[in-house]
């Protein structure tokens, strides 16, 4: 962590420190602010909340929301929920992989794009749906995938 990140992490910890069940919200906020959970941040959490580091890793690896590596600048989340699946989400995911040359779970070498598969983003009526950062794009198909990537490059 650089000093700015460290200060952020310390602030987050200080906010929750005395509440019961603080670990989850603390990790969530760090994930949100930094985009991932750096190992030294988890050490800091362990020290301040007095929770063994192994337990923190246990929690961090259990939930999909947490990531131990940074994600792309454009975080592409392809929904593979039921509604999207029956409307062709598999092909949409494949097309992203094809266009970006990476697999699901990976980041492009320039750090610009990452692809993840998620389960239902609640936009089922616009299936197949995807999310780029916080923006939902509905009724996707191969053509729209191409256009989208072009517009972000």
């Amino acid at each position: 962590m650089d000093p700015v990140q460290k200060r952020l992490v310390d602030e987050i910890i200080a906010n929750w420190k005395d509440k019961p069940g603080a670990l989850m919200p603390v990790l969530q906020e760090i994930q949100e602010k930094l985009g991932y959970l750096p190992s030294d941040a988890m050490e800091e959490v362990s020290r301040c909340l007095n929770i063994p580091l192994t337990e923190i890793y246990g929690v961090a690896t259990f939930y999909h929301f947490f990531s131990l590596k940074p994600k792309g600048k454009y975080k592409i989340q392809v929904c593979e929920g039921t509604a999207c699946y029956v409307k062709g989400a598999k092909r949409v995911l494949e097309k992203f992989e094809e266009v970006l040359g990476i697999k699901v779970g990976e980041v492009t070498p320039d750090g610009k794009f990452s692809i993840e598969s998620v389960r239902c983003i609640g936009a089922c009526s616009h299936a197949p749906a995807i999310m780029v950062n916080d923006q939902v794009h509905g009724r996707m198909n191969s053509e729209k995938v191409l256009q989208l990537i072009k517009s972000l490059k």
């Binding site: 019961p20 259990f62 039921t82 239902c120 609640g122 936009a123 089922c124 749906a129 191969s142």
Partner: protein
């Protein structure tokens, strides 16, 4: 104060926001400004209207005219024609997909006219970000009334109403409250389960986004009834808008003194905290959810003891689903008899369903228990797109089962669905047509539960893996005789021996599709044929020469150069290169590409 000429309500549910509802709103505000009538027209956000695939949508009151699929460019037309000259803009009205009939007002369209709205009573009517508008619609009156009753009277009312939990299991809510009230231990807690894990469901999200106070009010009444002073909302992290609106609603309720110490001058005090999920399906299970709030891995534990006796931090805890809680205020206000007059003998009230998949009107609907699937799919849902045939509906997500066409007239309630091996579930209702392969659907759900299994108990962890392996073989054309029997046997074992509801229900989609679509499994195994022509290993794409006009589109969209052809010559697909992505099939303007059975074609 200026006289208000009209109110324009814009749906601000997630689906409409994602189809750029706010861009339309900005354009509308600008157009009103330009026309000089900004002060005469109220523009308000409202909760999910339910017609999610028609978004962005807007309703213009006093006439209740309902406009659909709005683009920013349409704003000026609506202002100039409708708001200034009083002429309804016909081209922006809703058109019934099958009959092409045009409907001017929201209440008339079959999608809405067929519904009965208790839980969704405020959707499309109030602004979810305004507590004043909630209060104006009898909001928090039920809380005030409950506080004049004894906790036992409140519990008795909920019991007599017949309300059952909407989170999936259908446990009687009043009974659950009674158990927690009688349980020893202090403090007690109320938790609202907003984890909504079923991948294809969005009822709870829409309720939290569209009418957060109704859920808060229900939770507070639950708190009063069981003698709790603290409540938690647990909402999945994938729902940022729901979280934002809920946070705002909590703050407003606190400022009004509706949450806090000595509520409404009584000695009842109650506080509410919001916690977010972190993307683990199993955390929707109540004991796992509790572990997650406590800051641990969300692993379930065996029950009993039930949370009513030993829940959050080992204290008596009532955990209820979002929709369950949203039913409470109307029950307290209108009485148990009113509620129990709706629905069927053992399933009282209404159910909210998230209608999605291969159906014309996808979106959020609320119907009385006992409504038939046929009414939902063909009347409320407007039928199947593209003139395709209805094949099955899937309810209850990864824990549920399917309902085939021969049961289209079955009344949807807890008992009837159980009889045919399906469940009401939390309300996800996915419609499938003839192009959906039921073996692949079973594989899809099992892959889901397999990857979401927390790994704590072997029957679930190992059993689902074995079943998934078999299904994958079948889909790849490597199924063997006896596979169906093996699936049934494994399924029964996983059902019986798993620790929590996730494993106990994981085999359901497989067993249910075997029950109704055994012929599809057999076709895959014995003939290496996929009747829906969906499994890639079992199909090939080819050009129908008579239909090909040599337009070249297939060659252009093909990602691997398999679709080829010279200008003005009939095109063809090189089967050795083809990866069967289906892009050419989807794009060909002349329908000149077909899917064929690979093994038939070989002979």
């Amino acid at each position: 104060m200026a006289i208000v000429r009209a109110n324009v309500l814009i749906c601000a549910g997630s689906a409409c926001v994602s189809s750029r509802a706010y861009e339309f709103k900005d354009a509308l505000l600008k157009a009103l400004e330009e026309a000089g009538i900004r002060a005469e027209v109220n523009v308000v956000d409202t909760g999910c209207v339910g017609t999610c695939d028609l978004g962005p949508v807007a309703i213009v009151y006093p006439d209740g005219v309902f406009y659909v699929k709005l683009k920013p460019e349409d704003a000026t037309t609506i202002v100039n024609e409708h708001l200034l000259k009083g002429r309804v803009v016909n081209r922006l009205l809703y058109q019934q997909p099958m009959t092409k009939e045009v409907f001017p007002s929201l209440s008339e369209i079959d999608f809405v006219a067929r519904q009965k709205r208790i839980v969704l009573r405020n959707m499309g009517i109030i602004n979810p970000e305004s507590i004043e508008e909630y209060i104006a619609r009898e909001g928090y009156e039920a809380l005030a009334k409950a506080l004049t009753m004894t906790p036992e009277e409140v519990i008795d009312t909920v019991k007599r109403s017949g309300l059952r939990g909407r989170g999936g299991a259908g446990f009687p809510t009043g009974l659950k409250w009674e158990l927690a009230r009688k349980a020893k231990g202090n403090p007690k807690y109320v938790i609202c389960n907003g984890d909504e894990g079923d991948p294809g469901a969005f009822m709870d999200r829409s309720i939290l986004e569209g009418d957060p106070h109704s859920v808060i009010e229900g939770m507070m009444i639950a708190g009063y009834a069981i003698g709790a002073s603290k409540g938690f909302f647990y909402v999945r992290a994938e729902y940022p808008l729901a979280i934002k609106r809920l946070e705002l609603a909590l703050e407003q309720a606190r400022n009004y003194g509706l949450i806090g110490e000595n509520i409404l001058g009584t000695d009842f005090s109650f506080d509410i905290e919001l916690r977010r999920g972190s993307g683990a399906f199993v955390c929707g299970e109540e004991t796992a959810l509790i572990a997650s709030i406590e800051g641990r891995r969300g692993e379930p534990r065996p029950r009993p003891p039930y949370p009513a006796n030993k829940g959050l931090w080992d204290k008596p805890t009532v955990i209820n689903n979002v929709e369950t809680l949203a039913n409470i205020a109307p029950i307290i206000l209108n009485g148990a008899d009113w509620f129990s007059s709706i629905g069927t003998e053992k399933s009282k009230g209404t159910k909210v369903f998230a209608l999605a998949g291969k159906v014309n009107n996808t979106g959020l609907i609320e119907v009385p228990f006992g409504t038939s699937l046929r009414e939902i799919v063909f009347e409320v849902g407007g039928g199947i797109p593209g003139g395709k045939k209805f094949k099955a509906a899937q309810t209850g997500g990864p824990s549920g089962g399917c309902i085939p066409a021969e049961y289209l007239d079955i009344p949807l309630d807890y008992e009837s669905l159980k009889q045919i091996g399906a469940i009401v579930g939390s309300g996800g209702l996915i419609i499938m047509d003839e192009d959906t392969c039921m073996v692949d659907v079973a594989r899809f759900f099992l892959e889901f539960t397999q990857s979401e299994s927390c790994g704590k108990c072997p029957p679930c962890r190992v059993g689902t893996r074995k079943m998934l392996d078999i299904l994958e073989r079948i889909i790849n054309g490597e199924g063997e005789e006896g596979d169906i029997e093996r699936l049934i046997e494994l399924g029964n074992e996983v059902r019986q021996d798993s620790l929590c509801g996730l494993g106990q229900t994981a085999p359901n989609p497989v067993l249910s599709t075997i029950r109704f679509f055994r012929d599809e499994y057999e076709a895959h195994i014995n003939e290496k044929r996929c009747p829906a022509k969906s499994c890639r290993a079992l199909i090939a794409y080819q050009v129908i020469p008579d239909k090909c006009r040599a337009c070249g589109i297939c060659a252009r969209v093909c990602p691997v150069g398999a679709a080829q052809g010279k200008p003005r010559e009939i095109h063809f697909i090189d089967k050795n290169l083809c990866i069967k992505c289906g892009d050419c099939f989807a794009k060909c303007p002349f329908g000149a590409i077909e899917k064929v059975d690979i093994f038939l074609e070989k002979s």
